[in-house]
Assembly symmetry: C2
């Protein structure tokens, strides 16, 4: 990994980052259930004692690493292109999910022990406020401007895009841009009143 001069010595932020990076790599490789202080320490090239000074458990290290991650980029609504904005929002989500942090979250969510340790607060910060809001932001923007009836913006509808992307990721086939466009055209837009089949491809009419 990051081979620092053995005569120099990492401290504070630098060391912390090395440990956070290590635990994220480790969890992607071995899974949340097989995380060990030993494994993390080896990968970060630091003695285990350094880890025990701050955390008491491998999962604490992992959760702390997630807590310190940079938030994902917020999807922004463009000028007047609902369809394009939706596709871009889903692309943001895919990119995040494929990052070490995204994979780590996936590993945590199905691990009983870490799921129990994951506080409501962290869940909000790391998942709900990220993985749950990609298309809603965009849809809300256009609903506010009257592009479609606001009462169609139900919890189900704001979940469609994220749900379809999540399923593809689980199936092991990360969606391409064409796949994302298909999701928008064939599932999200029909749900807000644009009949299916009224679009064909890029530029095929966003409203």
């Amino acid at each position: 990994m990051s081979d620092h001069n053995p005569r120099t010595r990492r401290r504070g932020e630098e060391l912390l980052k090395a440990i956070h990076d290590a635990v994220l790599e480790e969890v992607v490789e071995v899974g949340a259930g097989r995380l060990t202080m030993d494994g993390i320490a080896r990968r970060a090239a630091t003695p285990r004692t350094t880890l025990y000074r701050r955390w008491s458990d491998p999962l604490e290290v992992l959760l702390d690493a997630l807590y310190h991650q940079h938030p994902v980029e917020e999807p922004t609504a463009g000028a007047d292109d609902l369809r394009g904005d939706l596709i871009r929002a889903l692309r943001l989500m895919v990119d995040w999910a494929l990052s070490p942090a995204g994979r780590a979250v996936a590993a945590i969510l199905t691990d009983p022990k870490s799921a129990a340790l994951m506080s409501e607060a962290l869940f909000e910060r790391v998942f709900a406020n990220r993985g749950g809001t990609f298309t809603r932001t965009v849809l809300q923007h256009y609903a506010d401007r009257g592009h479609f009836p606001a009462e169609l913006l139900t919890p189900v509808v704001t979940d469609i895009g994220e749900a379809l992307v999540t399923k593809r990721l689980i199936d092991g086939a990360p969606p391409s841009d064409e796949d994302l466009a298909a999701m928008v055209d064939q599932a999200i837009l029909p749900a807000i009143g644009s009949p299916p089949g009224s679009r064909s491809g890029p530029g095929g009419g966003s409203r």
Copy 2:
């Protein structure tokens, strides 16, 4: 667990079932990454040697247990009730997902080691042919009978229901029947040409 008379001795099918049950309970409790021969053996109340006679690894035991599970009930298309059939299909999926076998599959899918061991064949048998086909069967049935244009039955559209259910399960809030109805009304039916808002509740028109 199952306390059999210590003077009697389990063999063959009976013993195998006890072990399969044990590993499914174990994985739900500790996660795929923390499965051990020891833990499985303790829960099945059998010596570890018995396990090693058949399997070489805890994950092998788990995959074998899944392989021997009864297939889930196939969704059946009723007389002329697309909406009701879709809801029933999703209900089948939810029930399966909440069962020990369903939870075990979830645990496997995000565990790097077990995902690597899971053969294409088992994946098909246990997931694709089950978790991936609940609504497609129903939709295909009604498309064949001309209830809606068959060309609308794209891979995205047949995934909508399963995807929404999966997301709810991940979020830890298993959907109620009302939730399932909302998914059908607000996401699936619009995608096959039934405009959103044209239904309100049970009996609100299936086409």
